[in-house]
Symmetry: C2
Subunit: 246 residues, 2 copies
């Protein structure tokens, strides 16, 4: 149930069998299915529990009154969409399903108890939160400084590497569930320009993208094109393992 989450956390921490059981239990307490294009939770809503991605793809987005929308994060299986956010009065963003999504709704107290009962889980969850913040910073850098071409290459690299980290990318390819319009919202570009940028990546023999299937022909070259370096994902172990969660 929580296999992807466990796989991800193991990049940082050594989980005991008890830890894994606790995670499994939390991940199976309450399951929710959300159809593609439906919202998991909307800006303004009171967050009530922690949403853990079990299957499918989702995104976090913020909108301006006039409809302009920025996707600020993609969620893949194993991601925790809103750890600790149940502390807040209201959501400052929405979470929307990009494909059919299966998620675990973990009650806030259960989530906290899990961390309180195992220092290793607490540390792993804190690490997870730190990585998410690092990704958010990288996205700001992406949108603020990289050109359209670089931005797209970077996004594809990141998505691929993250899927790889939970075992969802086989060889040189992965599923790319979002439409070009959604890519545009994530990159701060127009759909038209996203389309042309993808064509450029194809013309340079870096990728193939047909339907929802992405094939990366030359990962090193794509990384270079996107000025991508995976260090900010902090996938290598080596840190201090102790933490507190509120």
């Amino acid at each position: 149930m929580a296999a992807y989450l466990i796989r991800k956390l193991e990049h940082f921490a050594v989980l005991s069998d008890d830890d894994k059981r606790a995670l499994q239990l939390a991940a199976s307490y309450r399951i929710r299915h959300v159809a593609a294009r439906e919202d998991v939770i909307r800006e303004g809503d009171k967050p009530r529990h922690v949403n853990l991605m079990l299957e499918g793809y989702a995104c976090r987005s913020k909108s301006l009154e006039d409809g302009r929308r920025q996707i600020v994060a993609f969620f893949i299986p194993g991601d925790i969409c809103d750890a600790c956010m149940f502390m807040l009065k209201q959501m400052d963003h929405s979470i929307g399903a990009l494909s059919a999504v299966k998620l675990a709704e973990i009650p806030g107290e259960m989530f906290l108890d899990m961390a309180r009962n195992s220092p290793v889980i607490a540390a792993a969850l804190a690490w997870n939160a730190l990585v998410e913040e690092a990704i958010a910073r990288e996205w700001t850098l992406n949108v603020g400084q990289r050109s359209a071409y670089e931005r797209m290459a970077h996004l594809l690299c990141e998505f691929f590497v993250r899927l790889q980290a939970v075992g969802l990318a086989s060889g040189g390819g992965c599923e790319l569930p979002m439409t070009q319009a959604e890519l545009a919202d994530a990159l701060g570009l127009s759909t038209v320009h996203v389309n042309r940028t993808l064509q450029e990546l194809r013309a340079n023999h870096l990728i193939t993208l047909r339907g929802k299937t992405l094939v990366i022909h030359d990962l090193p070259a794509l990384q270079e094109a996107g000025l991508f370096s995976p260090t900010y994902l902090h996938l290598e172990r080596g840190g201090h393992q102790s933490a507190v969660v509120v």
Copy 2:
């Protein structure tokens, strides 16, 4: 010593005298002064402790190999630059002083103990981290979707409101410590365009900016110009007060 931090945390939590003493103690354990334009810590360094801003202004930034730089956050007195980051092997960004800065270096274990010993502090720190994440998301929205004019207006509103929250903005103005080049790096614009955008805001009688002094003549109008709504700063109490920190 930790007056600004305490003032900020009190927006969310009701701190006991013991809580305040604990914060004061941590904030006075080790003090460091950093001159304007010097780095507090650099990308690639191993983070060793928690940096708490006591006085002055700083920023978090990320750079690309070719020198392009994105400022992803501004720090003002009371801000914690890198809570929990001591867990990571290396920094994925730099922290630089925008003005002369005085900060408290809090050892990781001391920081964790503070949270472990007081559930209220733990909750307040978690809330603080959530707000920082919300600000990071808003910045991505800013850079990705708003026009130069809107972006600048939004940045000025945010900076002013945050200073207000710790008592550093009197009436309709505040100090604006960064140069136009730094504003440009924060907004993903060129210096030239930042200059022209500021002139436009002045021409519309929204602000006066001379030297390092910003005066906001019409805050509601500036907010409207920047599509700014302070909800994402989560300054109003009303949440659940319990947390875990790794």
